[in-house]
Symmetry: C3
Subunit: 100 residues, 3 copies
């Protein structure tokens, strides 16, 4: 069993900007991602009724340097204008090594 260290990055973004973020993530070196719709509300914008606002939750597991590139880009171009939520943490990844 081979466990490697990786960074799990989660992005919660409005549906309208989520495909663009996924393309950026892949362009910056991620070799995979998963995405699914979520309801919710964030700290900015109109406070929606529970469950009303449709967002997308995007997840990718990458190595440290790709994580840095992704976090920098999201910080500079997406967090402020698009009210995107981004968080990261260390994970142990079971892998043949293809995506780290």
């Amino acid at each position: 069993m081979k466990l490697r260290n990786g960074k799990l990055i989660t992005v919660i973004a409005e549906a309208i900007v989520s495909d663009r973020i996924i393309r950026e993530i892949l362009r910056l070196g991620a070799t995979g991602y998963s995405a699914h719709p979520v309801s919710g509300q964030g700290s900015r914008g109109v406070r929606a009724s529970l469950g009303e606002r449709k967002n997308v939750r995007i997840e990718t597991v990458v190595n440290e340097s790709v994580a840095d590139r992704i976090l920098h880009l999201l910080s500079e171009s997406y967090v402020q204008p698009y009210a995107v939520i981004v968080f990261a943490r260390d994970v142990e990844v079971l892998s043949g090594g293809e995506y780290l």
Copy 2:
């Protein structure tokens, strides 16, 4: 790029109680959440067929003191009677600071 420390709390609850938990989370100081349906089974109740039982997975990122309040409330009022699953871990949050 500004990374802050936060707590990511995940709650998995039956659909019938999930809206109430979301309101409690917001009342206790969370400024956002995301939620989506999941199938699954827990450690209590009738063992359902795979994929049969409908739960909701709720996620929120908060600071340490809000996390403590949320975990205390869930522990006292939801874990036992509603068979709610709750887990928390530290995350690094990319943010303008609005929700931590």
Copy 3:
């Protein structure tokens, strides 16, 4: 409030193999799981259009020894042939102790 240490394991697998993985996870000692469909792409296989490929994201929280058994089995029997993505991290679990 009682917080215990646990391992959160996430598996992202093609839908066709996900039920089998869930059964293995429960057989190896997990007392619960949650699952939901995600779109995405991984590092192997045909590169799909964004959002085209349907996977399932499975999550379970277990103690250290059950985590080891699950990770070993997935490593030996699923990661290579099924292009399954698996990652794990420590979490604090709010619980009456039923599933750790």
